[in-house]
Amino acid sequence: MLEVANLEVVYHDVVLVLRGISFRVPDGKIVALLGANGAGKTTVLRAISGLLDVHHGDITKGEVRVDGTPTHKLTPTAIVGTGVTQVMEGRRIFAEFTVEENLRVGAHSSPGERTDNLSRVFDLFPVLKERRKHTAGYLSGGEQQMLAMGRGLMSNPRFLLLDEPSLGLAPLLVQQIRDLIVEINSQGTAILLVEQNATMALSIAEHGFIMETGKIVMDKPADELMRNEDVQEFYLGLGGAGTERKSFRDIKHYKRRKRWLS
């Protein structure tokens, strides 16, 4: 069980971004974490995998626990050792490395099981096997997402944290990624799925959480969330006129600006 308890996170000692977040990811389940841009989803994942330091962020309150043992004071290396691996937003593959080198980097923490994990990854993503000697930077967007997920699986995690795996992919590819997540999960890996694409996430998750400005505002089984009117209106794009503002184009535009600033 991966647990986040009452988590508070501050960036640069002043910007309070998470205001007491609590949730659980049981072993072997898929849990969706949803929310608009800037809600703090990525920050939650950083807090779990120990990557806040890099962004001048600090946990000021609360805990992250794996099987009841606090992990939020461990180094990222030690956290990967506890069986928690994050696949970061934007894929972040090593573009100048080959596909295989990328996967070898992912295997850093468990060199003994490298061959086993590699064959698992190649079974899941045959295209990576085909392209194993290719430079990763020349893969298509979908293939790069698969590589990022495959790299994460090379540490054979019990909990895989996926940050917006469907971002920027065409609908058909989103389907494919969705099916792959289900398959990875069916092999026993629990998944914390952060998504903007709520339809996709809720269609495969057991449970869902919705975040708004650093707080969890809804915590329900996925099918209930799917049926919830507010969720339909704001996250599934099924509502009336009010949802126009939240169209995909606006999000896209915002994203682009965010990239420039960062």
Binding site: V54, T75, I79, F97, H108
Partner: protein, 297 residues
Amino acid sequence: MTEFLQATINGFATGAIYALLALGFVIIYKSSEVLSFAQSGLMILGAFWVVYFSTVLELNFWVALLLGIILSALIGVVIERSMLRPMVGKPAFSVAILTIGLNIALTVIGFDLIGVEIRSLGDPWGIQVVQMGDLVVSRKDLATIVSSVIVVGSLLAFFRYTRFGLAMRATAIDQETALAQGIPVARVFAVAWAIAAGLATIAGVFLGAGTGVSAAIGVRAIRALPAAVIGGLDSIPGAIVGGLIIGLAESYTVTYQSEYLAFLGQNFSTAVAYVVMFLVLLVRPYGIFGTREVVRV
């Protein structure tokens, strides 16, 4: 022609030494984004250990060299842990200044230990030469070239094929992603310093071989810096090429300048590295292979 060949071989030998020093600089910079100006200090201290093991403890030269490299690498790790680690996240400029201070400290300690005399390394080459037709090549130069090829080749193989070498390259490209894969980035920094210190020791030994270790080698080591700049601060091939360019430029200057450009004065060869750097930077602001913009001041 003989003169030219001789100057070329000599240039390669000197260039190999600059390349070893520049490589250390680049490896530290690539892994941790620290501009370290401590290479010449590390070199002097490293050379002293070899002098000490070889002539004071009277160990076999190669054993002394190996012990010297190991001890220097350990010192590199200690320096990284104690001085650089607390600086993570501090402005690049301040950290660079810190390494200049570190270099002064290492140099002072090194020269204190060495003393005022020129100390022999007890190396097997001395001032012997090999005669090849008209060509007279010092054994030390040949040994320098051969050893450097072996050392650099092993280093490249380490980066290419080993698990930790790959982890170091990954860290150089994207530190956060490396962390997310469970790579112990702190250990990568420490190993980068260990490698840099080890390379500096080898460089110091070849600079001091034959003629002996004295304050003069420290002055020469500083010219590895323009070599790193010429190659591009973040490029390993660049460090090698930059080192060789400087070595050759110096050697040709020593050989031909008094003949053709006598008005430049007697010791112009000591300045030629900086002239070459200036010219390269005019054409390629990030060096020949460089990609990354360091901080603009």
